[in-house]
């Protein structure tokens, strides 16, 4: 472990800052004006940002390095049948703000840039999404299946992966030959 890494302890107050979501939204709009498909504040400490997949890395670099969003909480891939969407929950420990980045991915080319160079937390989270949803994260150091066996052929969270819905219930009376 390098000594430089041990010294940096973020001095966080552990308390939220009121009205921070509007400030964050204004800064994001100023920096990425034309690239945001949609950007809005939803409730206290929550900002939604909709972008195309090619703007993901610049936006996240800005979030992490300039605005201090040091914690990547969650990576979610959603199958909308006509396109995919990758949702990143990025959190700021200094003011408690959460930015939800929605990246649009076309259905026939499920690829998006990996965020492992920015946050190591993306490593397992992206592997899981590759495993279950089949989104290819370009630049990931080790994109292997993580929860399912290595020789599994499908991506089960996709909507075209059928799931048995009807309950197959046979009553005890029927089992014994009754009606």
């Amino acid at each position: 472990m390098s000594p430089a890494a041990t010294e940096h302890v973020p001095q966080v107050s552990g308390r939220p800052v009121a009205g921070i979501e509007k400030e964050i939204l204004a800064q994001l709009k100023a920096a990425f004006a034309s690239k945001l498909t949609k950007a809005e504040t939803v409730r206290d400490r929550l900002v939604h940002v909709f972008i195309d997949r090619r703007d993901l890395v610049p936006l996240c670099t800005y979030l992490k390095n300039t605005l201090g969003f040091e914690h990547l909480s969650c990576v979610t891939a959603v199958d909308w049948k006509d396109h995919f969407e990758c949702v990143y929950h990025v959190e700021n420990y200094y003011n408690g703000c959460m930015v939800e980045v929605h990246a649009h991915i076309p259905y026939d080319d499920p690829k998006i840039a990996s965020l492992v160079p920015l946050w190591n937390a993306a490593n397992f989270l992206e592997r899981e999404m590759w495993d279950l949803m089949g989104i290819e994260f370009e630049g990931h150091p080790n994109l292997e299946r993580i929860l399912l066996p290595q020789d599994f052929k499908f991506h089960p969270l996709r909507k075209d992966f059928a799931q048995e819905v009807d309950r197959q219930y046979i009553s005890r009376r029927k089992l014994k030959g009754g009606k």
Binding site: M1, A5, T6, H8, V9, P10, V12, S13, G14, R15, P16, R43, R45, E70, H71, L72, S73, C74, T76, V78, D79, V87, H89, Y93, G96, M98, E100, W119, N120, A121, N123, F124, L125, E128, L132, R145, I146, L147, L148, P149, P156, L157, F161, Q163, V165
Partner: protein, 363 residues
């Protein structure tokens, strides 16, 4: 000496569940590690897509059998955010009480398993004995010791029983005395200190970078407690102190132990305050709409870290997509950092202090 890989798991007393820790050793020293998980994958996110919103609470209970209420509460909170409904005040207070009782039971289960990991068999017996106190309280409240199915979308299943406050106070009073005994057996044990101090260290910057959350992050000296930072339910009105390790030697197994241990005291405080401040009567549940459209997420301070649910509804009576963010899953990615450079015999002491729950990790 040549380096080679050792499998610790999937069947190993250290693992507390079904997973495999591959460690690469050079003699006695660990040079690399690789967690292999997925043995317990049950496809929760897929199953939840064909069940109605309310029926999923049964499933989320089973995510982590040690701390069921915190998980089903996180799910209910996310669904409520999506539907845009507000839980009545008394319902919120009851939730706080149930969450903290569950946290106490969960931390005691961790303490019970961490003791034998280090050869302190008394720790197991004592902690499990006191865990029964809180399981009894939870049973009184919800009717079941484990997998309670207690939180509901829109509130909780039932009101608190009669005399619950008095019984709760009595149990906690008793438990606080016992905590002093624990301190004597753990903190003053020289063997315990030698096994935990200075091993399994992770720096604050690395912990944040790898997504370590909860008590493991606070043990690195970062003051992040979601009950404070992104307050939910009525935690804002409660006076409590997030447990953070401030002294030197942050981020080792000992710091993680102390932070979790002190959380036991803090949770006792929260339960007593909540019982006091709670309105004595009133509604504890609202009727949620049957169908919902939109999306919602909720993050809560689970016993093991940040639990996040992201729920999308498409206007049907069941979720279109549910994403579960498990704190242990992310902490597991950082375990190679904890292990590298330590001795093989310390693997148990380090991974025990992380508090692994395989059910939520593999989903």
């Amino acid at each position: 000496m040549p380096e080679f890989w050792i499998n610790m798991g999937p069947q190993h007393p250290m693992t507390h569940g079904l997973w495999n820790m591959k460690v690469k050793v050079d003699g006695e020293t660990i040079v690399d590690a690789r967690p292999e998980i997925g043995y317990l994958h049950r496809g929760y996110e897929k199953i939840m897509e064909v069940r109605e919103f309310q029926k999923n609470v049964v499933l989320t209970d089973r995510l982590c059998y040690v701390s069921s209420i915190t998980w089903s509460h996180a799910y209910c909170l996310a669904v409520e955010k999506m539907m845009g409904i507000e839980v009545p005040e008394r319902g919120q207070w009851i939730r706080v009480v149930s969450l903290e009782l569950q946290r106490l039971a969960s931390h005691l289960m961790w303490l019970a398993s961490y003791g034998p990991d280090l050869g302190l068999l008394t720790g197991l017996l004592w902690a499990l004995r006191e865990r029964e106190l809180f399981l009894d309280l939870i049973q009184l409240m919800s009717g079941a010791r484990m997998n309670q199915n207690y939180p509901r979308v829109g509130g909780v299943r039932n009101d608190l029983p009669e005399n619950f406050e008095a019984m709760c106070k009595r149990s906690i009073e008793h438990f606080r005395e016992k905590l002093n005994e624990y301190e004597n057996i753990f903190h003053s044990s020289k063997v315990f200190l030698m096994r935990t101090e200075g091993v399994g260290r992770i720096s604050a910057a690395e912990a944040i970078d790898w997504g370590v959350t909860g008590p493991n992050l606070r043990a690195c000296g970062v003051n992040v407690d979601l009950r404070r930072l992104d307050s939910y339910e009525t935690y804002e009105e409660i006076d409590f102190e997030p447990q953070v390790w401030h002294d030197g030697g942050a981020g080792d197994s000992y710091a993680r132990f102390i932070v979790r241990f002190n959380e036991l005291r803090e949770s006792c405080k929260i339960v007593l305050q909540a019982l006091e401040k709670m309105p004595k009567s009133g509604a504890y549940r609202v009727k949620p709409p049957r169908r919902a459209e939109g999306e919602g997420y909720a993050k809560t301070e689970d016993s093991r870290g940040e639990a996040l649910f992201y729920v999308i509804g498409d206007g049907d009576d069941r979720p279109y997509r549910v994403k579960i963010r498990s704190p242990v899953f992310c902490t597991m990615a950082a375990t190679p950092i904890l292990l590298r450079g330590n001795k093989l015999a310390d693997v148990v002491a380090i991974l025990g202090s992380v508090d692994v729950c395989v059910g939520e990790m593999d989903k």
